[in-house]
């Protein structure tokens, strides 16, 4: 891990009418880090993330991602990041292979590269059986893994994961985190939102958002010491209850 | 029952939250009635025609003046050669050319008759035919004036009465049609989309596992649209009475009952479409592509059914709109009661029961 900062946010704010969803948050993420972005439902995690990936314009404050400003250089950011949404937004009515081809294609990969990547993924995720099946017919766990791999197709500097493990069993979650580690080891920065506190333990650093504000930011170990509790769950409960 | 009312309330909230759809839902009938009432007519008016006058004498000038004075025609241009006729038609603006023979006036005096060609651009046969008839009428008129002094004996004089619509207003014909089309499409489309939407988003399953019975779910989804359609029907009737002076000669109460019946027929059709479609897109395409043109064309809304080829006349019987248009014209314009309309009413009722039965059966199969 280097000290190069790939995400920097300063007083980043988003308001919808009179409602402030994200309230002047500031933080930074180092290259190669697994950064956990925690918070209860509705705390503003997803909104904050959407500003960082350039599909929502900040109301105030500024942020840079991969060295580019989120307000003015959103399109440049998009070349450097991968994103996996809560909805695992693959096309249900295309096969796994067709999804890979499509997303590879619009990220500018060549035919040869796409072919190579597809072969790699089939090998790695053991997709031989399902590669020609419709995504809509696959179990959730499969969709997640494929969706994550697709977000890494173009070797992005940073990958944003929005509650990637919602709704799957602990074994699948475990496997999924192994994939995350592998990506991080290859130098990809991982920015992940979750509300599973056990997953928070796997992160290098976590921030905890409450009502649009970042209330705590440190490594899981330091946070536990700071709040004098045994696990991240208790850290979270303490913060959330105020 | 309380749960059921709560469910209906939820459906109303859904509808009223979506301001844009609501605007269309109520703006549509108003826009269409206004368009039909004021703008759209299959009569002809101010048609651009050209004149090719080989004679250029007093008589042709008089005839040209007569034609020019009528509200039907505007003489747009004079051409000099036969070859120009083709050219002006190809441009598309000129719809007819009057071609007076050489020495027209002279022939009339010496031979007792003279010839004029009425050349029409018959790519639109209806307009061509009408232009031809109207021009002919003007010429006949002129001829009668010329022959003022000659007395005609043994005359049969038809005394024609145009009943139900003495001024031959187009809007009398279109109001029942527009009302039918709107009620049909709005009801069928809205229900089919709203049910298939719940299917697509997965919320239908949640509703079906709730203590509400499947029948209640469907009725609950349909009730708000019955209300909306009734409002639409009321707006249309009120507008046609007060803006276009279309009478309601029969009973308003019967009109209301028949309208509700037709709304329910359309809703049942919507339910049936939703059972057959997995996605909103399919539901919409079936209800729009599948219903719009057949309803407009085969219901007698614009085109008279009696003039269609026999197979189409038979097919038109399965279009619910056809029967409702007959009922509407009967009540509004002819002022008849149920004793004249019981047959049509029974047909609609039968169609409704059939559609409901069929969708109930289809839903059951799906649920088992």
């Amino acid at each position: 891990m280097t000290n190069e900062l790939v995400i920097q946010a300063e007083n980043l704010t988003k308001t919808f009418g009179s409602f402030t969803a994200v309230d002047a948050i500031s933080f930074s993420v180092r290259k190669g880090e697994i950064f956990g972005f925690l918070g209860a439902n509705g705390a503003g995690k997803t909104t904050a993330m959407k500003m960082l990936i350039g599909i929502s314009t900040p109301s105030a404050g500024k942020a840079t991602v991969a060295g580019f400003d989120v307000s003015s250089e959103a399109e440049k950011i998009k070349k450097n990041i991968g994103y996996m949404s809560q909805k695992f937004a693959l096309y249900d009515d295309l096969t796994v292979k067709q999804n890979i081809t499509f997303f590879g294609g619009i990220y500018g990969l060549s035919r040869a590269q796409i072919k190579l990547k597809t072969a790699e993924l089939v090998e790695e995720l053991d997709l031989k059986e399902v590669v020609n099946q419709l995504v809509g017919a696959l179990p959730l766990g499969w969709k997640q893994k494929i969706s994550f791999s697709v977000s890494l197709l173009h070797n992005p500097k940073i990958v944003f994961l929005d509650e990637p493990t919602g709704g799957v069993d602990p074994i699948t979650r475990r496997q999924f985190w192994e994939m995350i580690y592998k990506a991080a080891n290859n130098g990809t920065t991982v920015f992940v939102t979750t509300h599973y506190m056990d997953e928070a333990e796997y992160c290098d650093r976590v921030s905890i958002m409450v009502n649009g504000k970042i209330e705590a930011l440190d490594s899981p170990k330091n946070l536990k010491t700071q709040f004098g509790v045994e696990n991240m769950n208790d850290v979270f409960l303490k913060l959330a209850r105020g | 029952m309380k749960r059921f009312i709560g469910f209906i309330k939820k459906e109303f909230y859904h509808i009223f939250r979506d301001k844009r759809s609501l605007f269309i839902l109520f703006g549509m009938p108003i826009a269409q009635i206004l368009l039909f009432g004021f703008a759209i007519t299959n009569e002809i008016n101010n048609v651009d025609i050209a004149v090719l006058d080989h004679s250029k004498d007093v008589t042709t000038q008089e005839i040209i003046n007569k034609i020019s004075a009528s509200k039907y025609f505007t003489i747009e241009t004079f051409i000099e050669r036969e070859a120009d006729i083709e050219a002006v038609f190809k441009k598309g603006k000129i719809k007819a050319v009057l071609n007076f023979e050489k020495d027209f006036g002279q022939h009339l005096i010496t031979d007792g008759f003279a010839t004029v060609q009425i050349i029409t651009d018959a790519t639109d046969p209806n307009t061509a035919n009408t232009i031809s008839n109207y021009t002919n009428a003007i010429l006949q008129n002129y001829q009668q004036e010329m022959n003022k002094n000659v007395k005609l004996a043994y005359q049969i004089v038809p005394q024609t009465r145009m009943v139900y619509n003495p001024e031959l207003k187009g809007v009398f014909m279109f109001v029942p049609g527009v009302m039918t089309i709107i009620l049909m499409l709005v009801s069928a489309m809205m229900t089919s989309i709203s049910i298939s939407r719940e299917k697509e988003l997965g919320t239908m399953e949640i509703l079906l596992v709730s203590p509400l019975k499947p029948l209640q779910v469907i009725i609950g989804k349909v009730v708000p649209y019955i209300f909306l359609s009734i409002i639409n029907a009321t707006v249309i009737v009120v507008m046609s009475i007060f803006i276009f002076r279309v009478p309601v000669n029969g009973s308003l109460f019967l009109l209301a009952l028949e309208s509700i019946l037709f709304i329910i027929t359309s809703l049942s059709l919507g339910i049936l479409i939703s059972t057959a479609s997995a996605t909103q897109q399919t539901a919409m395409m079936i209800s729009l592509m599948g219903l719009m043109l057949p309803t407009i064309l085969l219901s007698g809304f614009i085109f008279p059914i009696t003039s269609m080829p026999l197979p189409l006349q038979v097919i038109s019987n399965i279009i619910p709109a056809k029967w409702f248009i007959i009922i509407l014209k009967g009540i509004m314009l002819k002022g008849v009661g149920i004793s004249f309309l019981w047959k049509e009413t029974l047909v609609l009722l039968g169609m409704t029961l059939f559609l409901i039965g069929l969708s109930a059966k289809k839903y059951k199969i799906r649920l088992e």
Binding site: D93 | I44, T120, P125, R161, M292, K334
Partner: protein
């Protein structure tokens, strides 16, 4: 360019995967073209005619026989009384009642004048007008035929001057409605399919959530829009082609003009419709809304297009509105090129306006498509 290729490939795959939609896109419109073109006729035929004969004379029977032999009338029945005939008209069994008064024959011979009662159901005003013309023609013809028989010698007069009118119906001598309606209905179907599909397309991805995934990719707005448009553009042209074949083979619609011109114009026209569709898609949140708005516009476009009713008959203000109706130009061009063989110079005004619409609508569609909120 390559990126666009991937989007196009994906769209085509999705279209052809959806087995429920394929028949709706390809079969239903053509089926409707074949069936409904037969329905769209303003011809007035098979008029439901009935009569009340109070005279029962040779002349009254001869007059009725005239109606009987006319191809326009279906002589349904004779009614003994006006009350029964009126009741039949109320119930819709008859549309025209001819009432021959008592002493019709006698009066005509004696008074040289006899009235005839005619009642026409005029709810369909246009049809009633035409029915009236047919009825008058038959009666006048009958009148002309019997006049010499009734006239006493020496009364004959040939002092009358008459204007001989020869009606000529160019491009469609038999006044065949199908040659007029088939190109129009084809236009309508091509328009509806392309508008509905493109109008729902982007908003569908919005609703499912895949649009967000697209928006975080570096793809350019224009690339995305072009990639989305292209497949529907192809579908539109494919529909046109099959429609033209049907027009030729089944309806024998003449195709006097150049096919290249027709396709060239249609290519531009479909772009307009797709631009409108995408524009609607961008401004709506759900497919339901998109569909409603498309529907609203298509109905107004159809009614104001001159497809079923002539534009020249509309009041000036309404004619001004139709200048902004792309369907109007498509209907005009198809009819002009197919039926009259109009050339590029003839359709230039329509082509230029359509081109302007295409640029404006697609400009708006690209402009209004936001990758960020």
């Amino acid at each position: 360019m390559k990126t666009i290729g991937y989007i196009i490939q994906k769209e085509f795959r999705q279209i052809f995967r959806n087995k429920a939609m394929l028949p709706i896109i390809f079969i239903m419109p053509l089926f409707q073209l074949i069936i409904l073109s037969n329905a769209a006729t303003f011809d007035v035929k098979n008029i439901k005619f009935s009569y009340i004969d109070h005279d029962h004379s040779a002349m009254s029977r001869a007059l009725i026989e005239k109606f009987n032999t006319s191809s326009y009338f279906n002589v349904i029945t004779d009614f003994p009384s006006a009350a029964l005939a009126n009741s039949a008209m109320l119930s819709g069994e008859v549309d025209v009642i001819l009432e021959i008064p008592q002493h019709f024959e006698r009066d005509l011979a004696k008074d040289k004048y006899a009235p005839l009662g005619i009642t026409i159901n005029a709810i369909d005003g246009a049809a009633a007008g035409i029915e009236n013309v047919y009825i008058s023609q038959i009666i006048q013809g009958f009148n002309r035929n019997i006049r010499p028989e009734l006239m006493q010698q020496g009364q004959a007069s040939n002092l009358m001057k008459s204007i001989n009118t020869i009606p000529l119906f160019w491009y469609n001598e038999t006044l065949n409605y199908k040659t007029f309606m088939v190109p129009g209905i084809l236009v309508l179907l091509v328009t509806m399919i392309t508008l509905f599909l493109s109008g729902m397309n982007i908003v569908r991805e919005k609703e499912i959530g895949t649009l967000e995934q697209i928006n975080v990719t570096p793809i350019k707005k224009s690339q995305f829009i072009i990639g989305k448009l292209f497949p529907f553009w192809v579908i539109g042209l494919a529909l046109l082609s099959v429609g033209l074949i049907i027009a030729k083979l089944i309806f024998d619609v003449p195709m006097l003009g150049s096919l290249v011109l027709m396709y060239g114009y249609t290519s531009v026209y479909i772009l307009v419709i797709l631009g409108i569709g995408l524009f609607i898609s961008n401004f709506t949140d759900t497919q339901q809304q998109a569909m409603f708005i498309s529907w609203f516009f298509i109905v107004i476009f159809i009614l104001m297009s001159g497809l079923f009713t002539p534009i020249e008959s509309m009041p000036k203000w309404a004619q001004t509105i139709t200048d902004f109706n792309p369907i109007k130009y498509f209907v005009q061009v198809m009819r002009m090129v197919m039926l009259k063989g109009s050339s590029l110079t003839d359709i230039m005004p329509q082509l230029l306006k359509t081109l302007a619409f295409a640029v404006i609508m697609n400009g708006l569609a690209v402009w209004s498509y936001r990758k960020t909120s």
